[in-house]
Symmetry: C2
């Protein structure tokens, strides 16, 4: 079993009010790079930037790392269009940062990235992969992709108040800019990514198609962004069984209908509740308040903890340990450099 | 504890008769990339190439991977100048393939690579690192480096008959091309790499200096290439305690004086004997015949096995498993593609 994290960016995240995956739009550019470092090393390494929302909600990477420290799974990070340097080791599939989906072509390299990720997925020797993502703005690109594919499934948000009207306007502008009608790309999944998607979708879809083709089981570890990827995989004509493992926070989002996703995309859905309401630690309180919800394979990690017999109480204790380490590291580095965040 | 593998290349390996780290000079270009994949995934992934010597001796990556499957340590690969694509995740320190040391400047980017590796080593949160290398031709560049630094320590070889006279000629030509006398670079270690070294030396030395500066313990996991790196670290003025973990095959090489290395460089040396003479499997017989000897952190991995209470018999059994898997994968891929090796 291997957890693969596709880490990338889309300039769509820079649209005011779209994402909470970083304290500011500029810091958001670094979030996927820092997420990868937290997952691999247990804390940010190349900088003192800690991915937190404007309200102080820590990145889901903290939760996934915490589970990893209890369960011990292998992690491989794919550079799915990073826009900042990272000290995390990454696999290259030739992805570059995605453009704002309101531009003509959002992901010019979609086909090449999909093909390379597919070859990689096909050649991996593992019996089973858990595939997660980190891409600020990813639920908006997911909404645009689902629309282009003709699906009416809804998307979640890292914000407590899902900015659905704003997303709707951005999606409409995206389809308009690419001159495509809703559902027009139902049989052209890779072209749909190229037009209105992001490079993480190309990476995850390619990897998943390649893995399934070679007999490797795949669990998409995440929320509605991975539902959109599942729609891509199905649109590509792959009908092998496919699982989705997500969090109770996504399941509780009124904009999300996991049962409909499971039915229309033949997904075996697992929802795991980490019981964060039983903690008063800030790392978990923000999740209970509806922020973040999912990301960095968090739902998959929680499922792995449950499979591995690690209690939610043990997970919560470890989340505190990782959060405090990450926060301490940040404070120390700021003190050394005189920087401020 | 983390095992870090610096994987890179030098065109010095293309000199006829210098290295056995690949069945042909052309295949040798791929050896470090394949070593990284074997260590990370358990078999080559991006191609069907299996690093074997012309006599069929498998890469030490097979042994290090076998230990990893028993002991379970984390591995991070640094791209220290790879010349071929790899599907292994790699950390970038800006290294590029090294030139033939008989050219004017062997590693033009030595300073930048050293600095980036040093910053990386300084920021890693681990308490302890084991640092290994894979770079065909590396004992020849090590010999040139030691000469430039004014050390008279000898170097080992991946060949059963160490081509010492050939190496001597190449080293003399290298110093000549860079217009430096023996010992002239004793106080300019990074300039010595730039003149007659390889990018893996710049990476390992920078990483080690940075790690030691930040209080992280370092064990150099390898043979005389890492002795040369230790000389770099000492020439840089770092006097923290430093360990070397290598194999009994290196210790048995008459060209090598580990006691002298330990004394002159203040190295705490561990030698581990995996008892390969008790196996008749081809994977181990070639080592007993004096081939390969070390590489891909093999000596460090064997030390970790011993520390972890894994018997040499268990290591040997696992080596057979990994070897057979790697060989089978290669055979299957050849069958599929009709390729030949």
């Amino acid at each position: 079993m291997r957890v693969v994290l596709a880490a990338g960016t889309t300039e769509t995240a820079m649209i005011e009010g779209i994402s909470a995956a970083g304290a500011s739009p500029e810091l958001m550019t670094h979030t996927p790079a820092m997420d990868a470092e937290i997952l691999i090393y247990g804390e940010p390494v190349s900088s003192d930037l800690v991915p937190v929302s404007p309200n102080g909600c820590p990145t889901p990477a903290v939760i996934t790392r915490a589970v990893r420290e209890r369960v011990g799974f292998d992690v491989t990070v794919i550079d799915a269009g990073l826009a900042a340097d990272t000290d995390a080791p990454t696999v290259s599939v030739g992805a570059t940062p995605g453009r704002d989906i309101r531009e003509d072509r959002a992901v010019p390299s979609a086909r090449a990235t999909f093909d390379r990720a597919r070859a990689f997925g096909r050649s991996l020797p593992d019996n089973e992969l858990f595939v997660g993502e980190t891409v600020p703005g990813g639920t908006t690109t997911a909404a645009a992709l689902l629309r282009a594919l003709g699906s009416d499934l809804g998307v979640s948000s890292s914000l407590p108040e899902n900015p659905l009207a704003l997303k709707e306007r951005v999606v409409a502008a995206a389809l308009d800019a690419s001159d495509i009608a809703s559902g027009e790309m139902a049989d052209s999944p890779v072209a749909a990514i190229e037009a209105v998607g992001d490079p993480v979708q190309a990476t995850v879809a390619g990897l998943t198609v390649g893995a399934l083709e070679s007999g490797t089981g795949v669990t998409l570890a995440g929320g509605t962004q991975l539902v959109a990827t599942a729609a891509l995989v199905r649109a590509f004509g792959v009908d092998e069984s496919l699982s989705l493992a997500t969090t109770s926070f996504v399941a509780a989002d009124p904009a999300v209908d996991l049962a409909a996703a499971a039915a229309t995309l033949s997904l075996d859905v697992t929802v795991t509740d980490p019981g964060f309401e039983r903690s008063e630690h800030v790392a978990m309180a923000r999740y209970v308040a509806g922020e973040a919800k999912e990301g960095v394979a968090m739902g998959g990690a929680l499922a792995l903890a449950e499979q591995g017999g690690v209690s939610t109480a043990a997970v919560r204790t470890q989340v505190e340990t990782v959060y405090d380490r990450v926060a301490l590291q940040s404070a120390l580095t700021n003190e050394e450099t005189g920087g401020e965040r």
